[in-house]
Subunit: 117 residues, 2 copies
DNA sequence: GACATTGTGTAGTGAGTAGTACACAATACA
DNA sequence: TGTATTGTGTACTACTCACTACACAATGTC
């Protein structure tokens, strides 16, 4: 899997080709960190920022926040809260699903979402 | 919801009624922490211990590790890992399920486990 | 009465988290 | 050519996490 920093840098530079406001400095300001910090993060010299900043960064880059969070080893706090409310139930379900291929999980997601439950 | 410390203390003292080896000191030794630390944890003067110790504690107390972890605000690292591997899929699923009542989730768990997937 | 065991108080620690503040040389722009 | 903007280096900080080490008085046991 690709590193968090490398990925962010690549995506930011892609966005920059068509929008010069995607400099380290300006993106840093928009997500609320110091430029030097974002610079270090993008070079993997600093650990990924907090959940809040990552979500803001995902918004900037047009990426899925959950995916970007995952790259930083974090799980969105609202998902965590949902699991913590029914730990035994979710533990069983997730352990069951982790054995199954993507396709099967996807099918399940669809069926749950389209609501015959 | 009950506090982690209070719950552990109560459960330990229950076990102790029929087994004198369930003193703070001896349980602490079995799970690998200092007695003073376990004592503080049980009185909620210290934050809950690490995942590893909580799992050991659950084993001692005959409790579900996932439930005890949940009381400490933690999600088992194997569940986290499973989510991190397919973040978008699990995010969608969990957000869908959190709106649903226990019964519906339970039914889903059963159907998944009994394997027509 | 001696010895062991008990719970707990106090003090301190090393690693990780999540950053800031400021300075600097290189580059871009007008 | 001057001004602005850029990315990055260095140094530092406040906070939390997950504990240990040791001492003590009270209680239990032989």
């Amino acid at each position: 899997m690709q590193s968090f920093g490398r990925f962010v840098r690549r995506r930011r530079e892609e966005r920059r080709e068509s929008d010069s406001s995607f400099s380290v400095r300006q993106v840093a300001q928009r997500i609320g960190v110091e430029p030097s910090f974002l610079s270090k993060v993008e070079r993997d010299e600093a650990a990924p920022p907090s959940e809040e900043k990552i979500v803001a960064l995902a918004r900037e880059l047009g990426e899925d926040p959950d995916v970007l969070l995952a790259m930083s080893g974090k799980v969105s706090s609202d998902l965590k809260a949902a699991i913590l409310k029914r730990p035994a139930l979710f533990a069983t379900l997730i352990r069951e699903l982790k054995k199954m291929p993507d396709q099967a999980v996807l099918r399940l997601v669809r069926e749950v979402r389209d609501g015959q439950w």
